[in-house]
């Protein structure tokens, strides 16, 4: 009789859920979820949907790329030669490796091995920072040459290009990372001195990440210096590109305008005239518009990834992960793989055009 009473009470709609004991919460389950599985599945579906929005966000840029390339294939073939395939390839390898360490970290979190998770995530962060460092060198080098987006494009293939070892732009890009490095390193030392191991290790990790950025910068600068010395011997990739004068002396815009107006006989005259008036072909700038938009947005996502990863790094140090609770590592890992994947598409589309 007593047991049937219990059954009835349990299934009666009038049982107050807040006071019933069937609903014991583990500390990591938010109040509105019933089970750890439900919470994990929600998070997983949520991050996948977020990735879908990210793909569509980049999708707009990819469509712009496709349309511009379809309309003006010659601009892409000419302009891509100014991109450094080897630095881009190096970055590709760095990101692929970071995906490996990220996956390693997720696996470790699933096993509840917080120490391995922390180390793997830290390596991932360092790789992300190396990527940014190399990218900073690439960007600043192009800015020096005047390979700028759209209307600001001012590259003149025939002009003398002073090759600075370290460009002013590069120093500007380095300043924020240097500040973060100094601050986190100081906080880390202070924390470790006062016995706050967790905070000390966390800030130490951030400082190491910033060092990764400078490692990337050094690699890029050394590579560029090699290029310049090769160029002086007239056998480097860059030299070849400039020597063959990839920028054709015809303005594509003028070309197009005249052919549309149908004045075929006037076209050579117009082309020559505009040639003299505008020696710099702005339509190459649109390639760099697309290049900076896509790689810039990607770089912003890398920075966002570093921030998210540092949160995971902190929680790994605090040993939050256990076999029934590792969702956040998984979610951030998925995000990180997507960021890598976008680069895997960007690299051939931008650097490897033939």
């Amino acid at each position: 009789m007593a047991s049937t009473n219990v059954v009835r009470d349990e299934y009666s709609p009038l049982v107050d859920l807040e006071h019933s004991h069937e609903h014991e919460h583990a500390p990591f389950i938010a109040h509105h979820f019933y089970t750890a599985e439900q919470q994990f599945d929600s998070g997983k579906l949520g991050i996948w949907l977020f990735l879908v929005t990210e793909v569509l966000f980049f999708g707009g840029l990819f469509v712009a790329y496709i349309i511009y390339r379809y309309n003006r294939p010659e601009v892409f073939i000419d302009a891509h030669q100014y991109l450094d395939t080897l630095l881009g390839g190096l970055n590709t390898i760095v990101l692929l490796f970071s995906s490996l360490t990220m996956a390693w970290g997720v696996r470790a979190a699933q096993m509840g091995d917080n120490k391995t998770t922390a180390i793997s995530v830290l390596v991932t962060m360092v790789c992300a920072a190396i990527f940014l460092g190399v990218k900073a060198v690439e960007y600043s080098h192009k800015w020096d040459l005047g390979l700028l987006p759209g209307n600001m494009f001012s590259y003149d293939p025939h002009a003398e290009h002073p090759h600075h070892m370290i460009s002013d732009y590069l120093i500007l890009l380095c300043i924020p990372f240097a500040i973060v490095f100094v601050v986190t390193a100081l906080i880390s030392i202070l924390n470790l001195r006062t016995g706050q191991t967790l905070a000390g290790r966390f800030h130490g990790g951030l400082a190491i990440t910033m060092l990764g950025f400078f490692l990337g910068v050094v690699v890029g600068v050394v590579w560029n210096a090699n290029m310049i010395s090769h160029e002086e011997h007239g056998e480097g990739h860059h030299a070849a590109a400039v020597g063959e004068s990839p920028v054709r002396p015809v303005s594509y815009v003028a070309d197009d305008a005249t052919s549309k107006s149908g004045a075929a006989d006037a076209s050579p005259a117009t082309a020559t005239a505009s040639n003299v008036a505008h020696p710099i072909d702005k339509s190459l700038g649109v390639f760099f518009s697309i290049y900076y938009c896509m790689t810039g947005l990607h770089a912003i996502h890398i920075i966002g990834g570093i921030i998210a990863l540092s949160w995971i790094f902190y929680r790994s140090l605090a040993a939050h992960w256990r076999p029934d609770y590792f969702g956040p590592v998984d979610y951030v890992g998925l995000y990180w793989h997507l960021v890598d994947l976008i680069w895997i598409y960007l690299f051939p589309l931008m650097y490897l055009i033939r």
């Binding site: 049937t4 859920l17 509105h32 949520g46 966000f57 511009y68 702005k282």
Partner: protein
């Protein structure tokens, strides 16, 4: 079994400790994670935007009372209709039904305590406010005159107004919309309690689910487009600029790839609201439940393939126009499925002509006109003379205002007992519903006529033969304004002084009516009893709570059969 006081606690008017007074202070609202409070705060913003953009509309209509210029300069006139459109679209109509009614009702309808990601929900609300601030910046600086569509190259090179602030605002509002949609999809997928199967979901949830799919898939494209527009305007990128070999039409493709599906973001949740109210106030199971549910999904999916019908005259190829026109026609099929199913639901129903039901009937009538005139605009031959005339203006106002806004007002009346715990004044509610319906038709029906006579849209001055229609339209606009203002005032009055409502005053069978009115912080004080959403036998009137309570199904005290023991 349950005593009378227990019943009153669970299914009656919540005396205390409901979501509105669970905690106090401004901070408890700004930092709340409760989906109900978030919905209420959305409501303030959305209604304020409605009034603001409504005032712009009245100013425009007053100016158009005479054929010549009256009290607005050409520039101010352009800014007025731009801001009317932009504020209405981005701040009012896109968030309206999902953010207010969806946020409030969705978790309760589902039988959940909250949406899957309460913090993300709060982030959506903050982004909405932030986007609103950008529009206030636009209003208080140089304003905006590009039209709400921000077409290039005018918006990137010619306009002297604050395009950047407006597009940034729209960009931020887009993210608010994405997060809401993402949250709803995850909530409906993972937060359903036992017994809540996919085909037991109330139709509003199907509508919101379809809407959310569009929000997640289409809005990011708007986001990147607006970013490109901003960078184009500041740095002269050239992607949309023919001077550099860019393509200005690309902007239109990007924009309508979002903004046509966005039309369904506006109407699908409204259709869901209509399905709910219709069943409850006709006290009859929805006719063709699965067809209505699937037609929402169908509209959402087909809606992605029709954006080119906004560009029939923009210079795309004839073949492209032809294909887009054909696909546009196919959207009419699921829309008609809905309308016919609604009519069949009403047929031989026990129709209760309450205020929400009057709004439902207005909706069906106005959406019928708005939808059918859409076919004229989707047909290539008729679109060529009709495009950019008042016919288009009338068409989309019939769908957006006659559809979505009517559904929003009706939905607010229907769920007001749940929002506030109070009943509204029924006669006054009906009176202002009549004002809305009459005023709306008087405003926009003449616009069909003058549009077909050739009156172009967005013109500041017009030929005198159109004056009679413009005057009718202006009178109608003020009647509509009185109707909307009055309806909102009826609701505001009810919030403070209305008769106390029980948990389920309408006798509805969906789960949100199993909570007390207003609901407690965790929504359900009891285990959720999931039944068919439109099985009106599952609730029974109970005098002690002055409303309906669920019929508790009889159960065998002991199982009839022993479970088979597992063998190893």
């Amino acid at each position: 079994m349950a005593t009378v006081t227990q019943k009153q606690q669970l299914f009656g008017h919540a005396a205390s400790n409901h979501y509105l007074d669970a905690s106090r202070g401004v901070m408890s609202w700004i930092f709340t994670l409760d989906h109900k409070r978030i919905a209420i705060m959305y409501m303030y913003g959305v209604i304020a935007s409605l009034f603001l953009a409504g005032i712009f509309a009245l100013v425009l209509r007053t100016e158009l009372y005479t054929p010549g210029p009256w009290f607005l300069s050409n520039a101010v006139y352009n800014q007025m209709f731009t801001l009317h459109g932009a504020v209405m679209v981005f701040l009012f109509i896109i968030p309206s039904v999902p953010a207010i009614i969806g946020n409030f009702v969705l978790p309760m309808m589902l039988g959940a305590k909250d949406v899957a990601f309460p913090r993300l929900n709060l982030a959506s609300l903050w982004l909405y406010w932030l986007g609103g601030i950008f529009f206030i910046v636009v209003l208080s600086t140089t304003q905006l005159d590009t039209g709400w569509t921000f077409y290039t190259p005018y918006s990137t090179s010619s306009s002297k107004t604050n395009v950047i602030a407006a597009t940034l605002g729209a960009f931020i509002l887009g993210f608010s919309s994405i997060f809401t949609g993402l949250n709803f999809i995850v909530t409906i997928n993972t937060m359903r309690p036992k017994g809540m199967t996919w085909f037991r979901l109330p139709l509003l949830l199907w509508g919101l689910y379809s809407t959310s799919i569009i929000q997640v898939l289409a809005t990011p494209v708007l986001g990147i487009t607006l970013l490109l527009l901003i960078v184009e305007r500041t740095l002269k990128l050239g992607i949309f600029d023919p001077a550099y070999g860019g393509d200005p039409l690309l902007y239109q493709h990007f924009f309508w790839f979002y903004s046509h599906p966005a039309v369904y973001i506006m109407i699908l949740p409204a259709m869901g609201v209509i399905s709910e109210m219709l069943a409850v106030h006709c006290r009859k199971e929805v006719f063709g439940y699965k067809f209505i549910a699937m037609s929402s999904v169908a509209i959402a999916l087909i809606g992605f393939l029709v954006w080119g019908h906004h560009m029939f005259t923009s210079g795309q190829s004839e073949l492209t126009s032809l294909v887009f026109s054909a696909i546009t026609f196919s959207v009419a099929v699921p829309s008609a499925v809905k309308v016919f199913n609604w009519l069949c639901t009403m047929y031989r129903g026990d129709i209760n002509l309450s205020t929400p039901m009057l709004y439902v009937m207005s909706f069906i009538f106005l959406f019928g006109i708005g939808g059918l005139t859409g076919l004229w605009l989707g047909a290539l031959s008729t679109d060529i003379p009709l495009h950019d005339t008042y016919f288009v203006v009338a068409h989309f106002h019939y769908v957006m205002v006659g559809g979505t806004m009517t559904a929003l007002l009706g939905g607010l009346f229907h769920w007001w007992p749940k929002f506030s715990g109070r009943m509204y004044n029924e006669p006054l509610g009906k009176l202002f519903c009549f004002f809305v319906f009459a005023g709306f038709n008087l405003t926009f029906f003449p616009q069909f006529i003058m549009g077909s006579l050739g009156m172009p849209r967005r013109y500041h001055e017009y030929a005198e033969i159109y004056q009679i229609y413009h005057q009718a339209s202006t009178w109608g606009a003020f009647t509509l304004g009185i109707g909307i203002f009055g309806a909102v005032m009826v609701l505001v009055y009810a919030w403070f002084f209305g008769r106390k409502a029980s948990g389920n005053p309408w006798g509805a069978a969906t789960l949100e009516w199993q909570c007390s009115s207003p609901p407690s912080f965790h929504n359900f004080e009891h285990r959720v009893i999931v039944s068919e959403p439109y099985d009106f036998e599952s609730v029974i009137y109970d005098e002690s709570v002055d409303g309906y309570i669920p019929v508790i199904p009889k159960r065998d005290l002991a199982p009839n059969q022993q479970p088979a023991t597992a063998t190893h």
